[in-house]
Amino acid sequence: MSKIRPLFNPWFTVSTPDGRNGIRIRHLEVPDFSEQIMDGWRDKAAPSKTYNANHGRERGRRSFDIDDRCKPELVEHVLRQVQLLAGEYNYLGRTPTLASSQILLYTEGPGCPVHCDDQDAADDDYGLGTVMFNWANQLVALLFLTEECKDFTGGQLFFPNADLYVPAVPGKLIVFPGHYKYKHGVTPIQSGTRIVLQTTWRFDL
């Protein structure tokens, strides 16, 4: 049976126990690393990672991953909140493990198309009707590091299903499941640079 075990049922992160939607917003006190991150971007910027490498890039999406020294410290802040929030997602008593983390830097451009974080069409690799799932992206936490209207204009995170637009404030943390019910995107960025720390979390049994 061991061969079948890593395959999971795609419905396992469906909803919160109380039936509310699973989008939670918290405000954290975090040091301002934006200068340091901008320096890191000038030194070494890699395109941000997604399963579909062209995810939105053919439409001009430009986002970069900066591997900066400040990342572990910021992830620690996020982890504390994720631990506190675990119970709101049926994960009470389970330990969150970091599945992926990127400091994303969006520059002027069309933002990011609507997507969800635990699945992506795999038609290019495996043919029509196939989907690549990432079961480790059970919970997603985004920490905003720059301020809308001050550091950049445009670039709002939005959830079409909840009809929710989230203005960026430094230290604002937004947590939601990677599930397809929480599809989200970023509106076009008119000017400036938008920086977020993107983390995804796995809850082992």
Binding site: I4, P6, L7, P10, D125, G129, N134
Partner: protein, 203 residues
């Protein structure tokens, strides 16, 4: 837009037996002797992972397969009846079909029909689902001296002997992992079709 999770077809494993004209059986068996064959399509091999091949079965070319439309029709009718009994929609459209020959020593490893683990390069936590494979139908044609080659559902404790004319229908989802015991003697032909189940009547 991203696809929604698939609808899981209900019900269990259905096995039935039909009679197939002897001439057709002979024609099917001899086609594998006279015509060119190749290794059957395998999603792991397709993704550049040949050592992970699920089965070492041989397959006829597309043109040859089309000569056995009568067998496919038989299978389709059985599958549609089976779906109807489950209350699962009115029609299915075929998302994949295979006409495979299991020779001596050939079997198939444990697998499910709608998902698999992609190669390590994609990351440890990835898996791939075929949203169009929701339901599977099988029709067996075997030589008279066949030994081995049973279809096994270990979690259900079901074993199906691949006697000529045996029809099998079962959902493709993760609750139906199955394997094929290696053939000890003789030849075993499996006609497999995967269906996408629609909830609208066939036109």
């Amino acid at each position: 837009m991203l696809p929604n999770p698939i609808h899981m077809v209900g019900g269990g494993i259905e096995v039935s037996r039909t009679s197939i004209p002897v001439a057709l059986v002979q024609r099917c068996l001899s086609a594998f002797e006279t015509e060119a064959t190749e290794y059957s399509f395998d999603v792991n091999t397709h993704a550049g992972n040949p050592e992970m091949r699920t089965r070492h079965t041989k397959e006829l070319g597309r043109q040859q397969q089309e000569k056995f439309g009568a067998l496919y029709q038989l299978l389709d009718e059985f599958v549609l009846q089976s779906l109807y009994k489950r209350g699962e929609g009115y029609s299915g459209s075929v998302s994949r079909q295979q006409l495979m020959l299991y020779e001596q020593g050939v079997g198939a490893a444990l697998h499910v029909d709608d998902q698999f683990k992609p190669p390590q390069m994609y990351g440890a936590s990835k898996y791939v689902m075929h949203l169009l494979n929701q339901f599977a139908g099988l029709l067996y044609i075997s030589s008279d001296d066949l030994e081995g080659g049973e279809l096994l559902f270990p979690t259900h404790g079901v074993s199906v002997a691949p006697v000529t004319g045996t029809l099998v229908a079962f959902p493709s989802n993760h609750l139906f992992p199955h394997l094929v015991n290696p053939v000890i003697k003789g030849r075993r032909i499996a006609i497999a079709r995967h269906y996408y189940v629609k909830d609208t009547p066939a036109v």
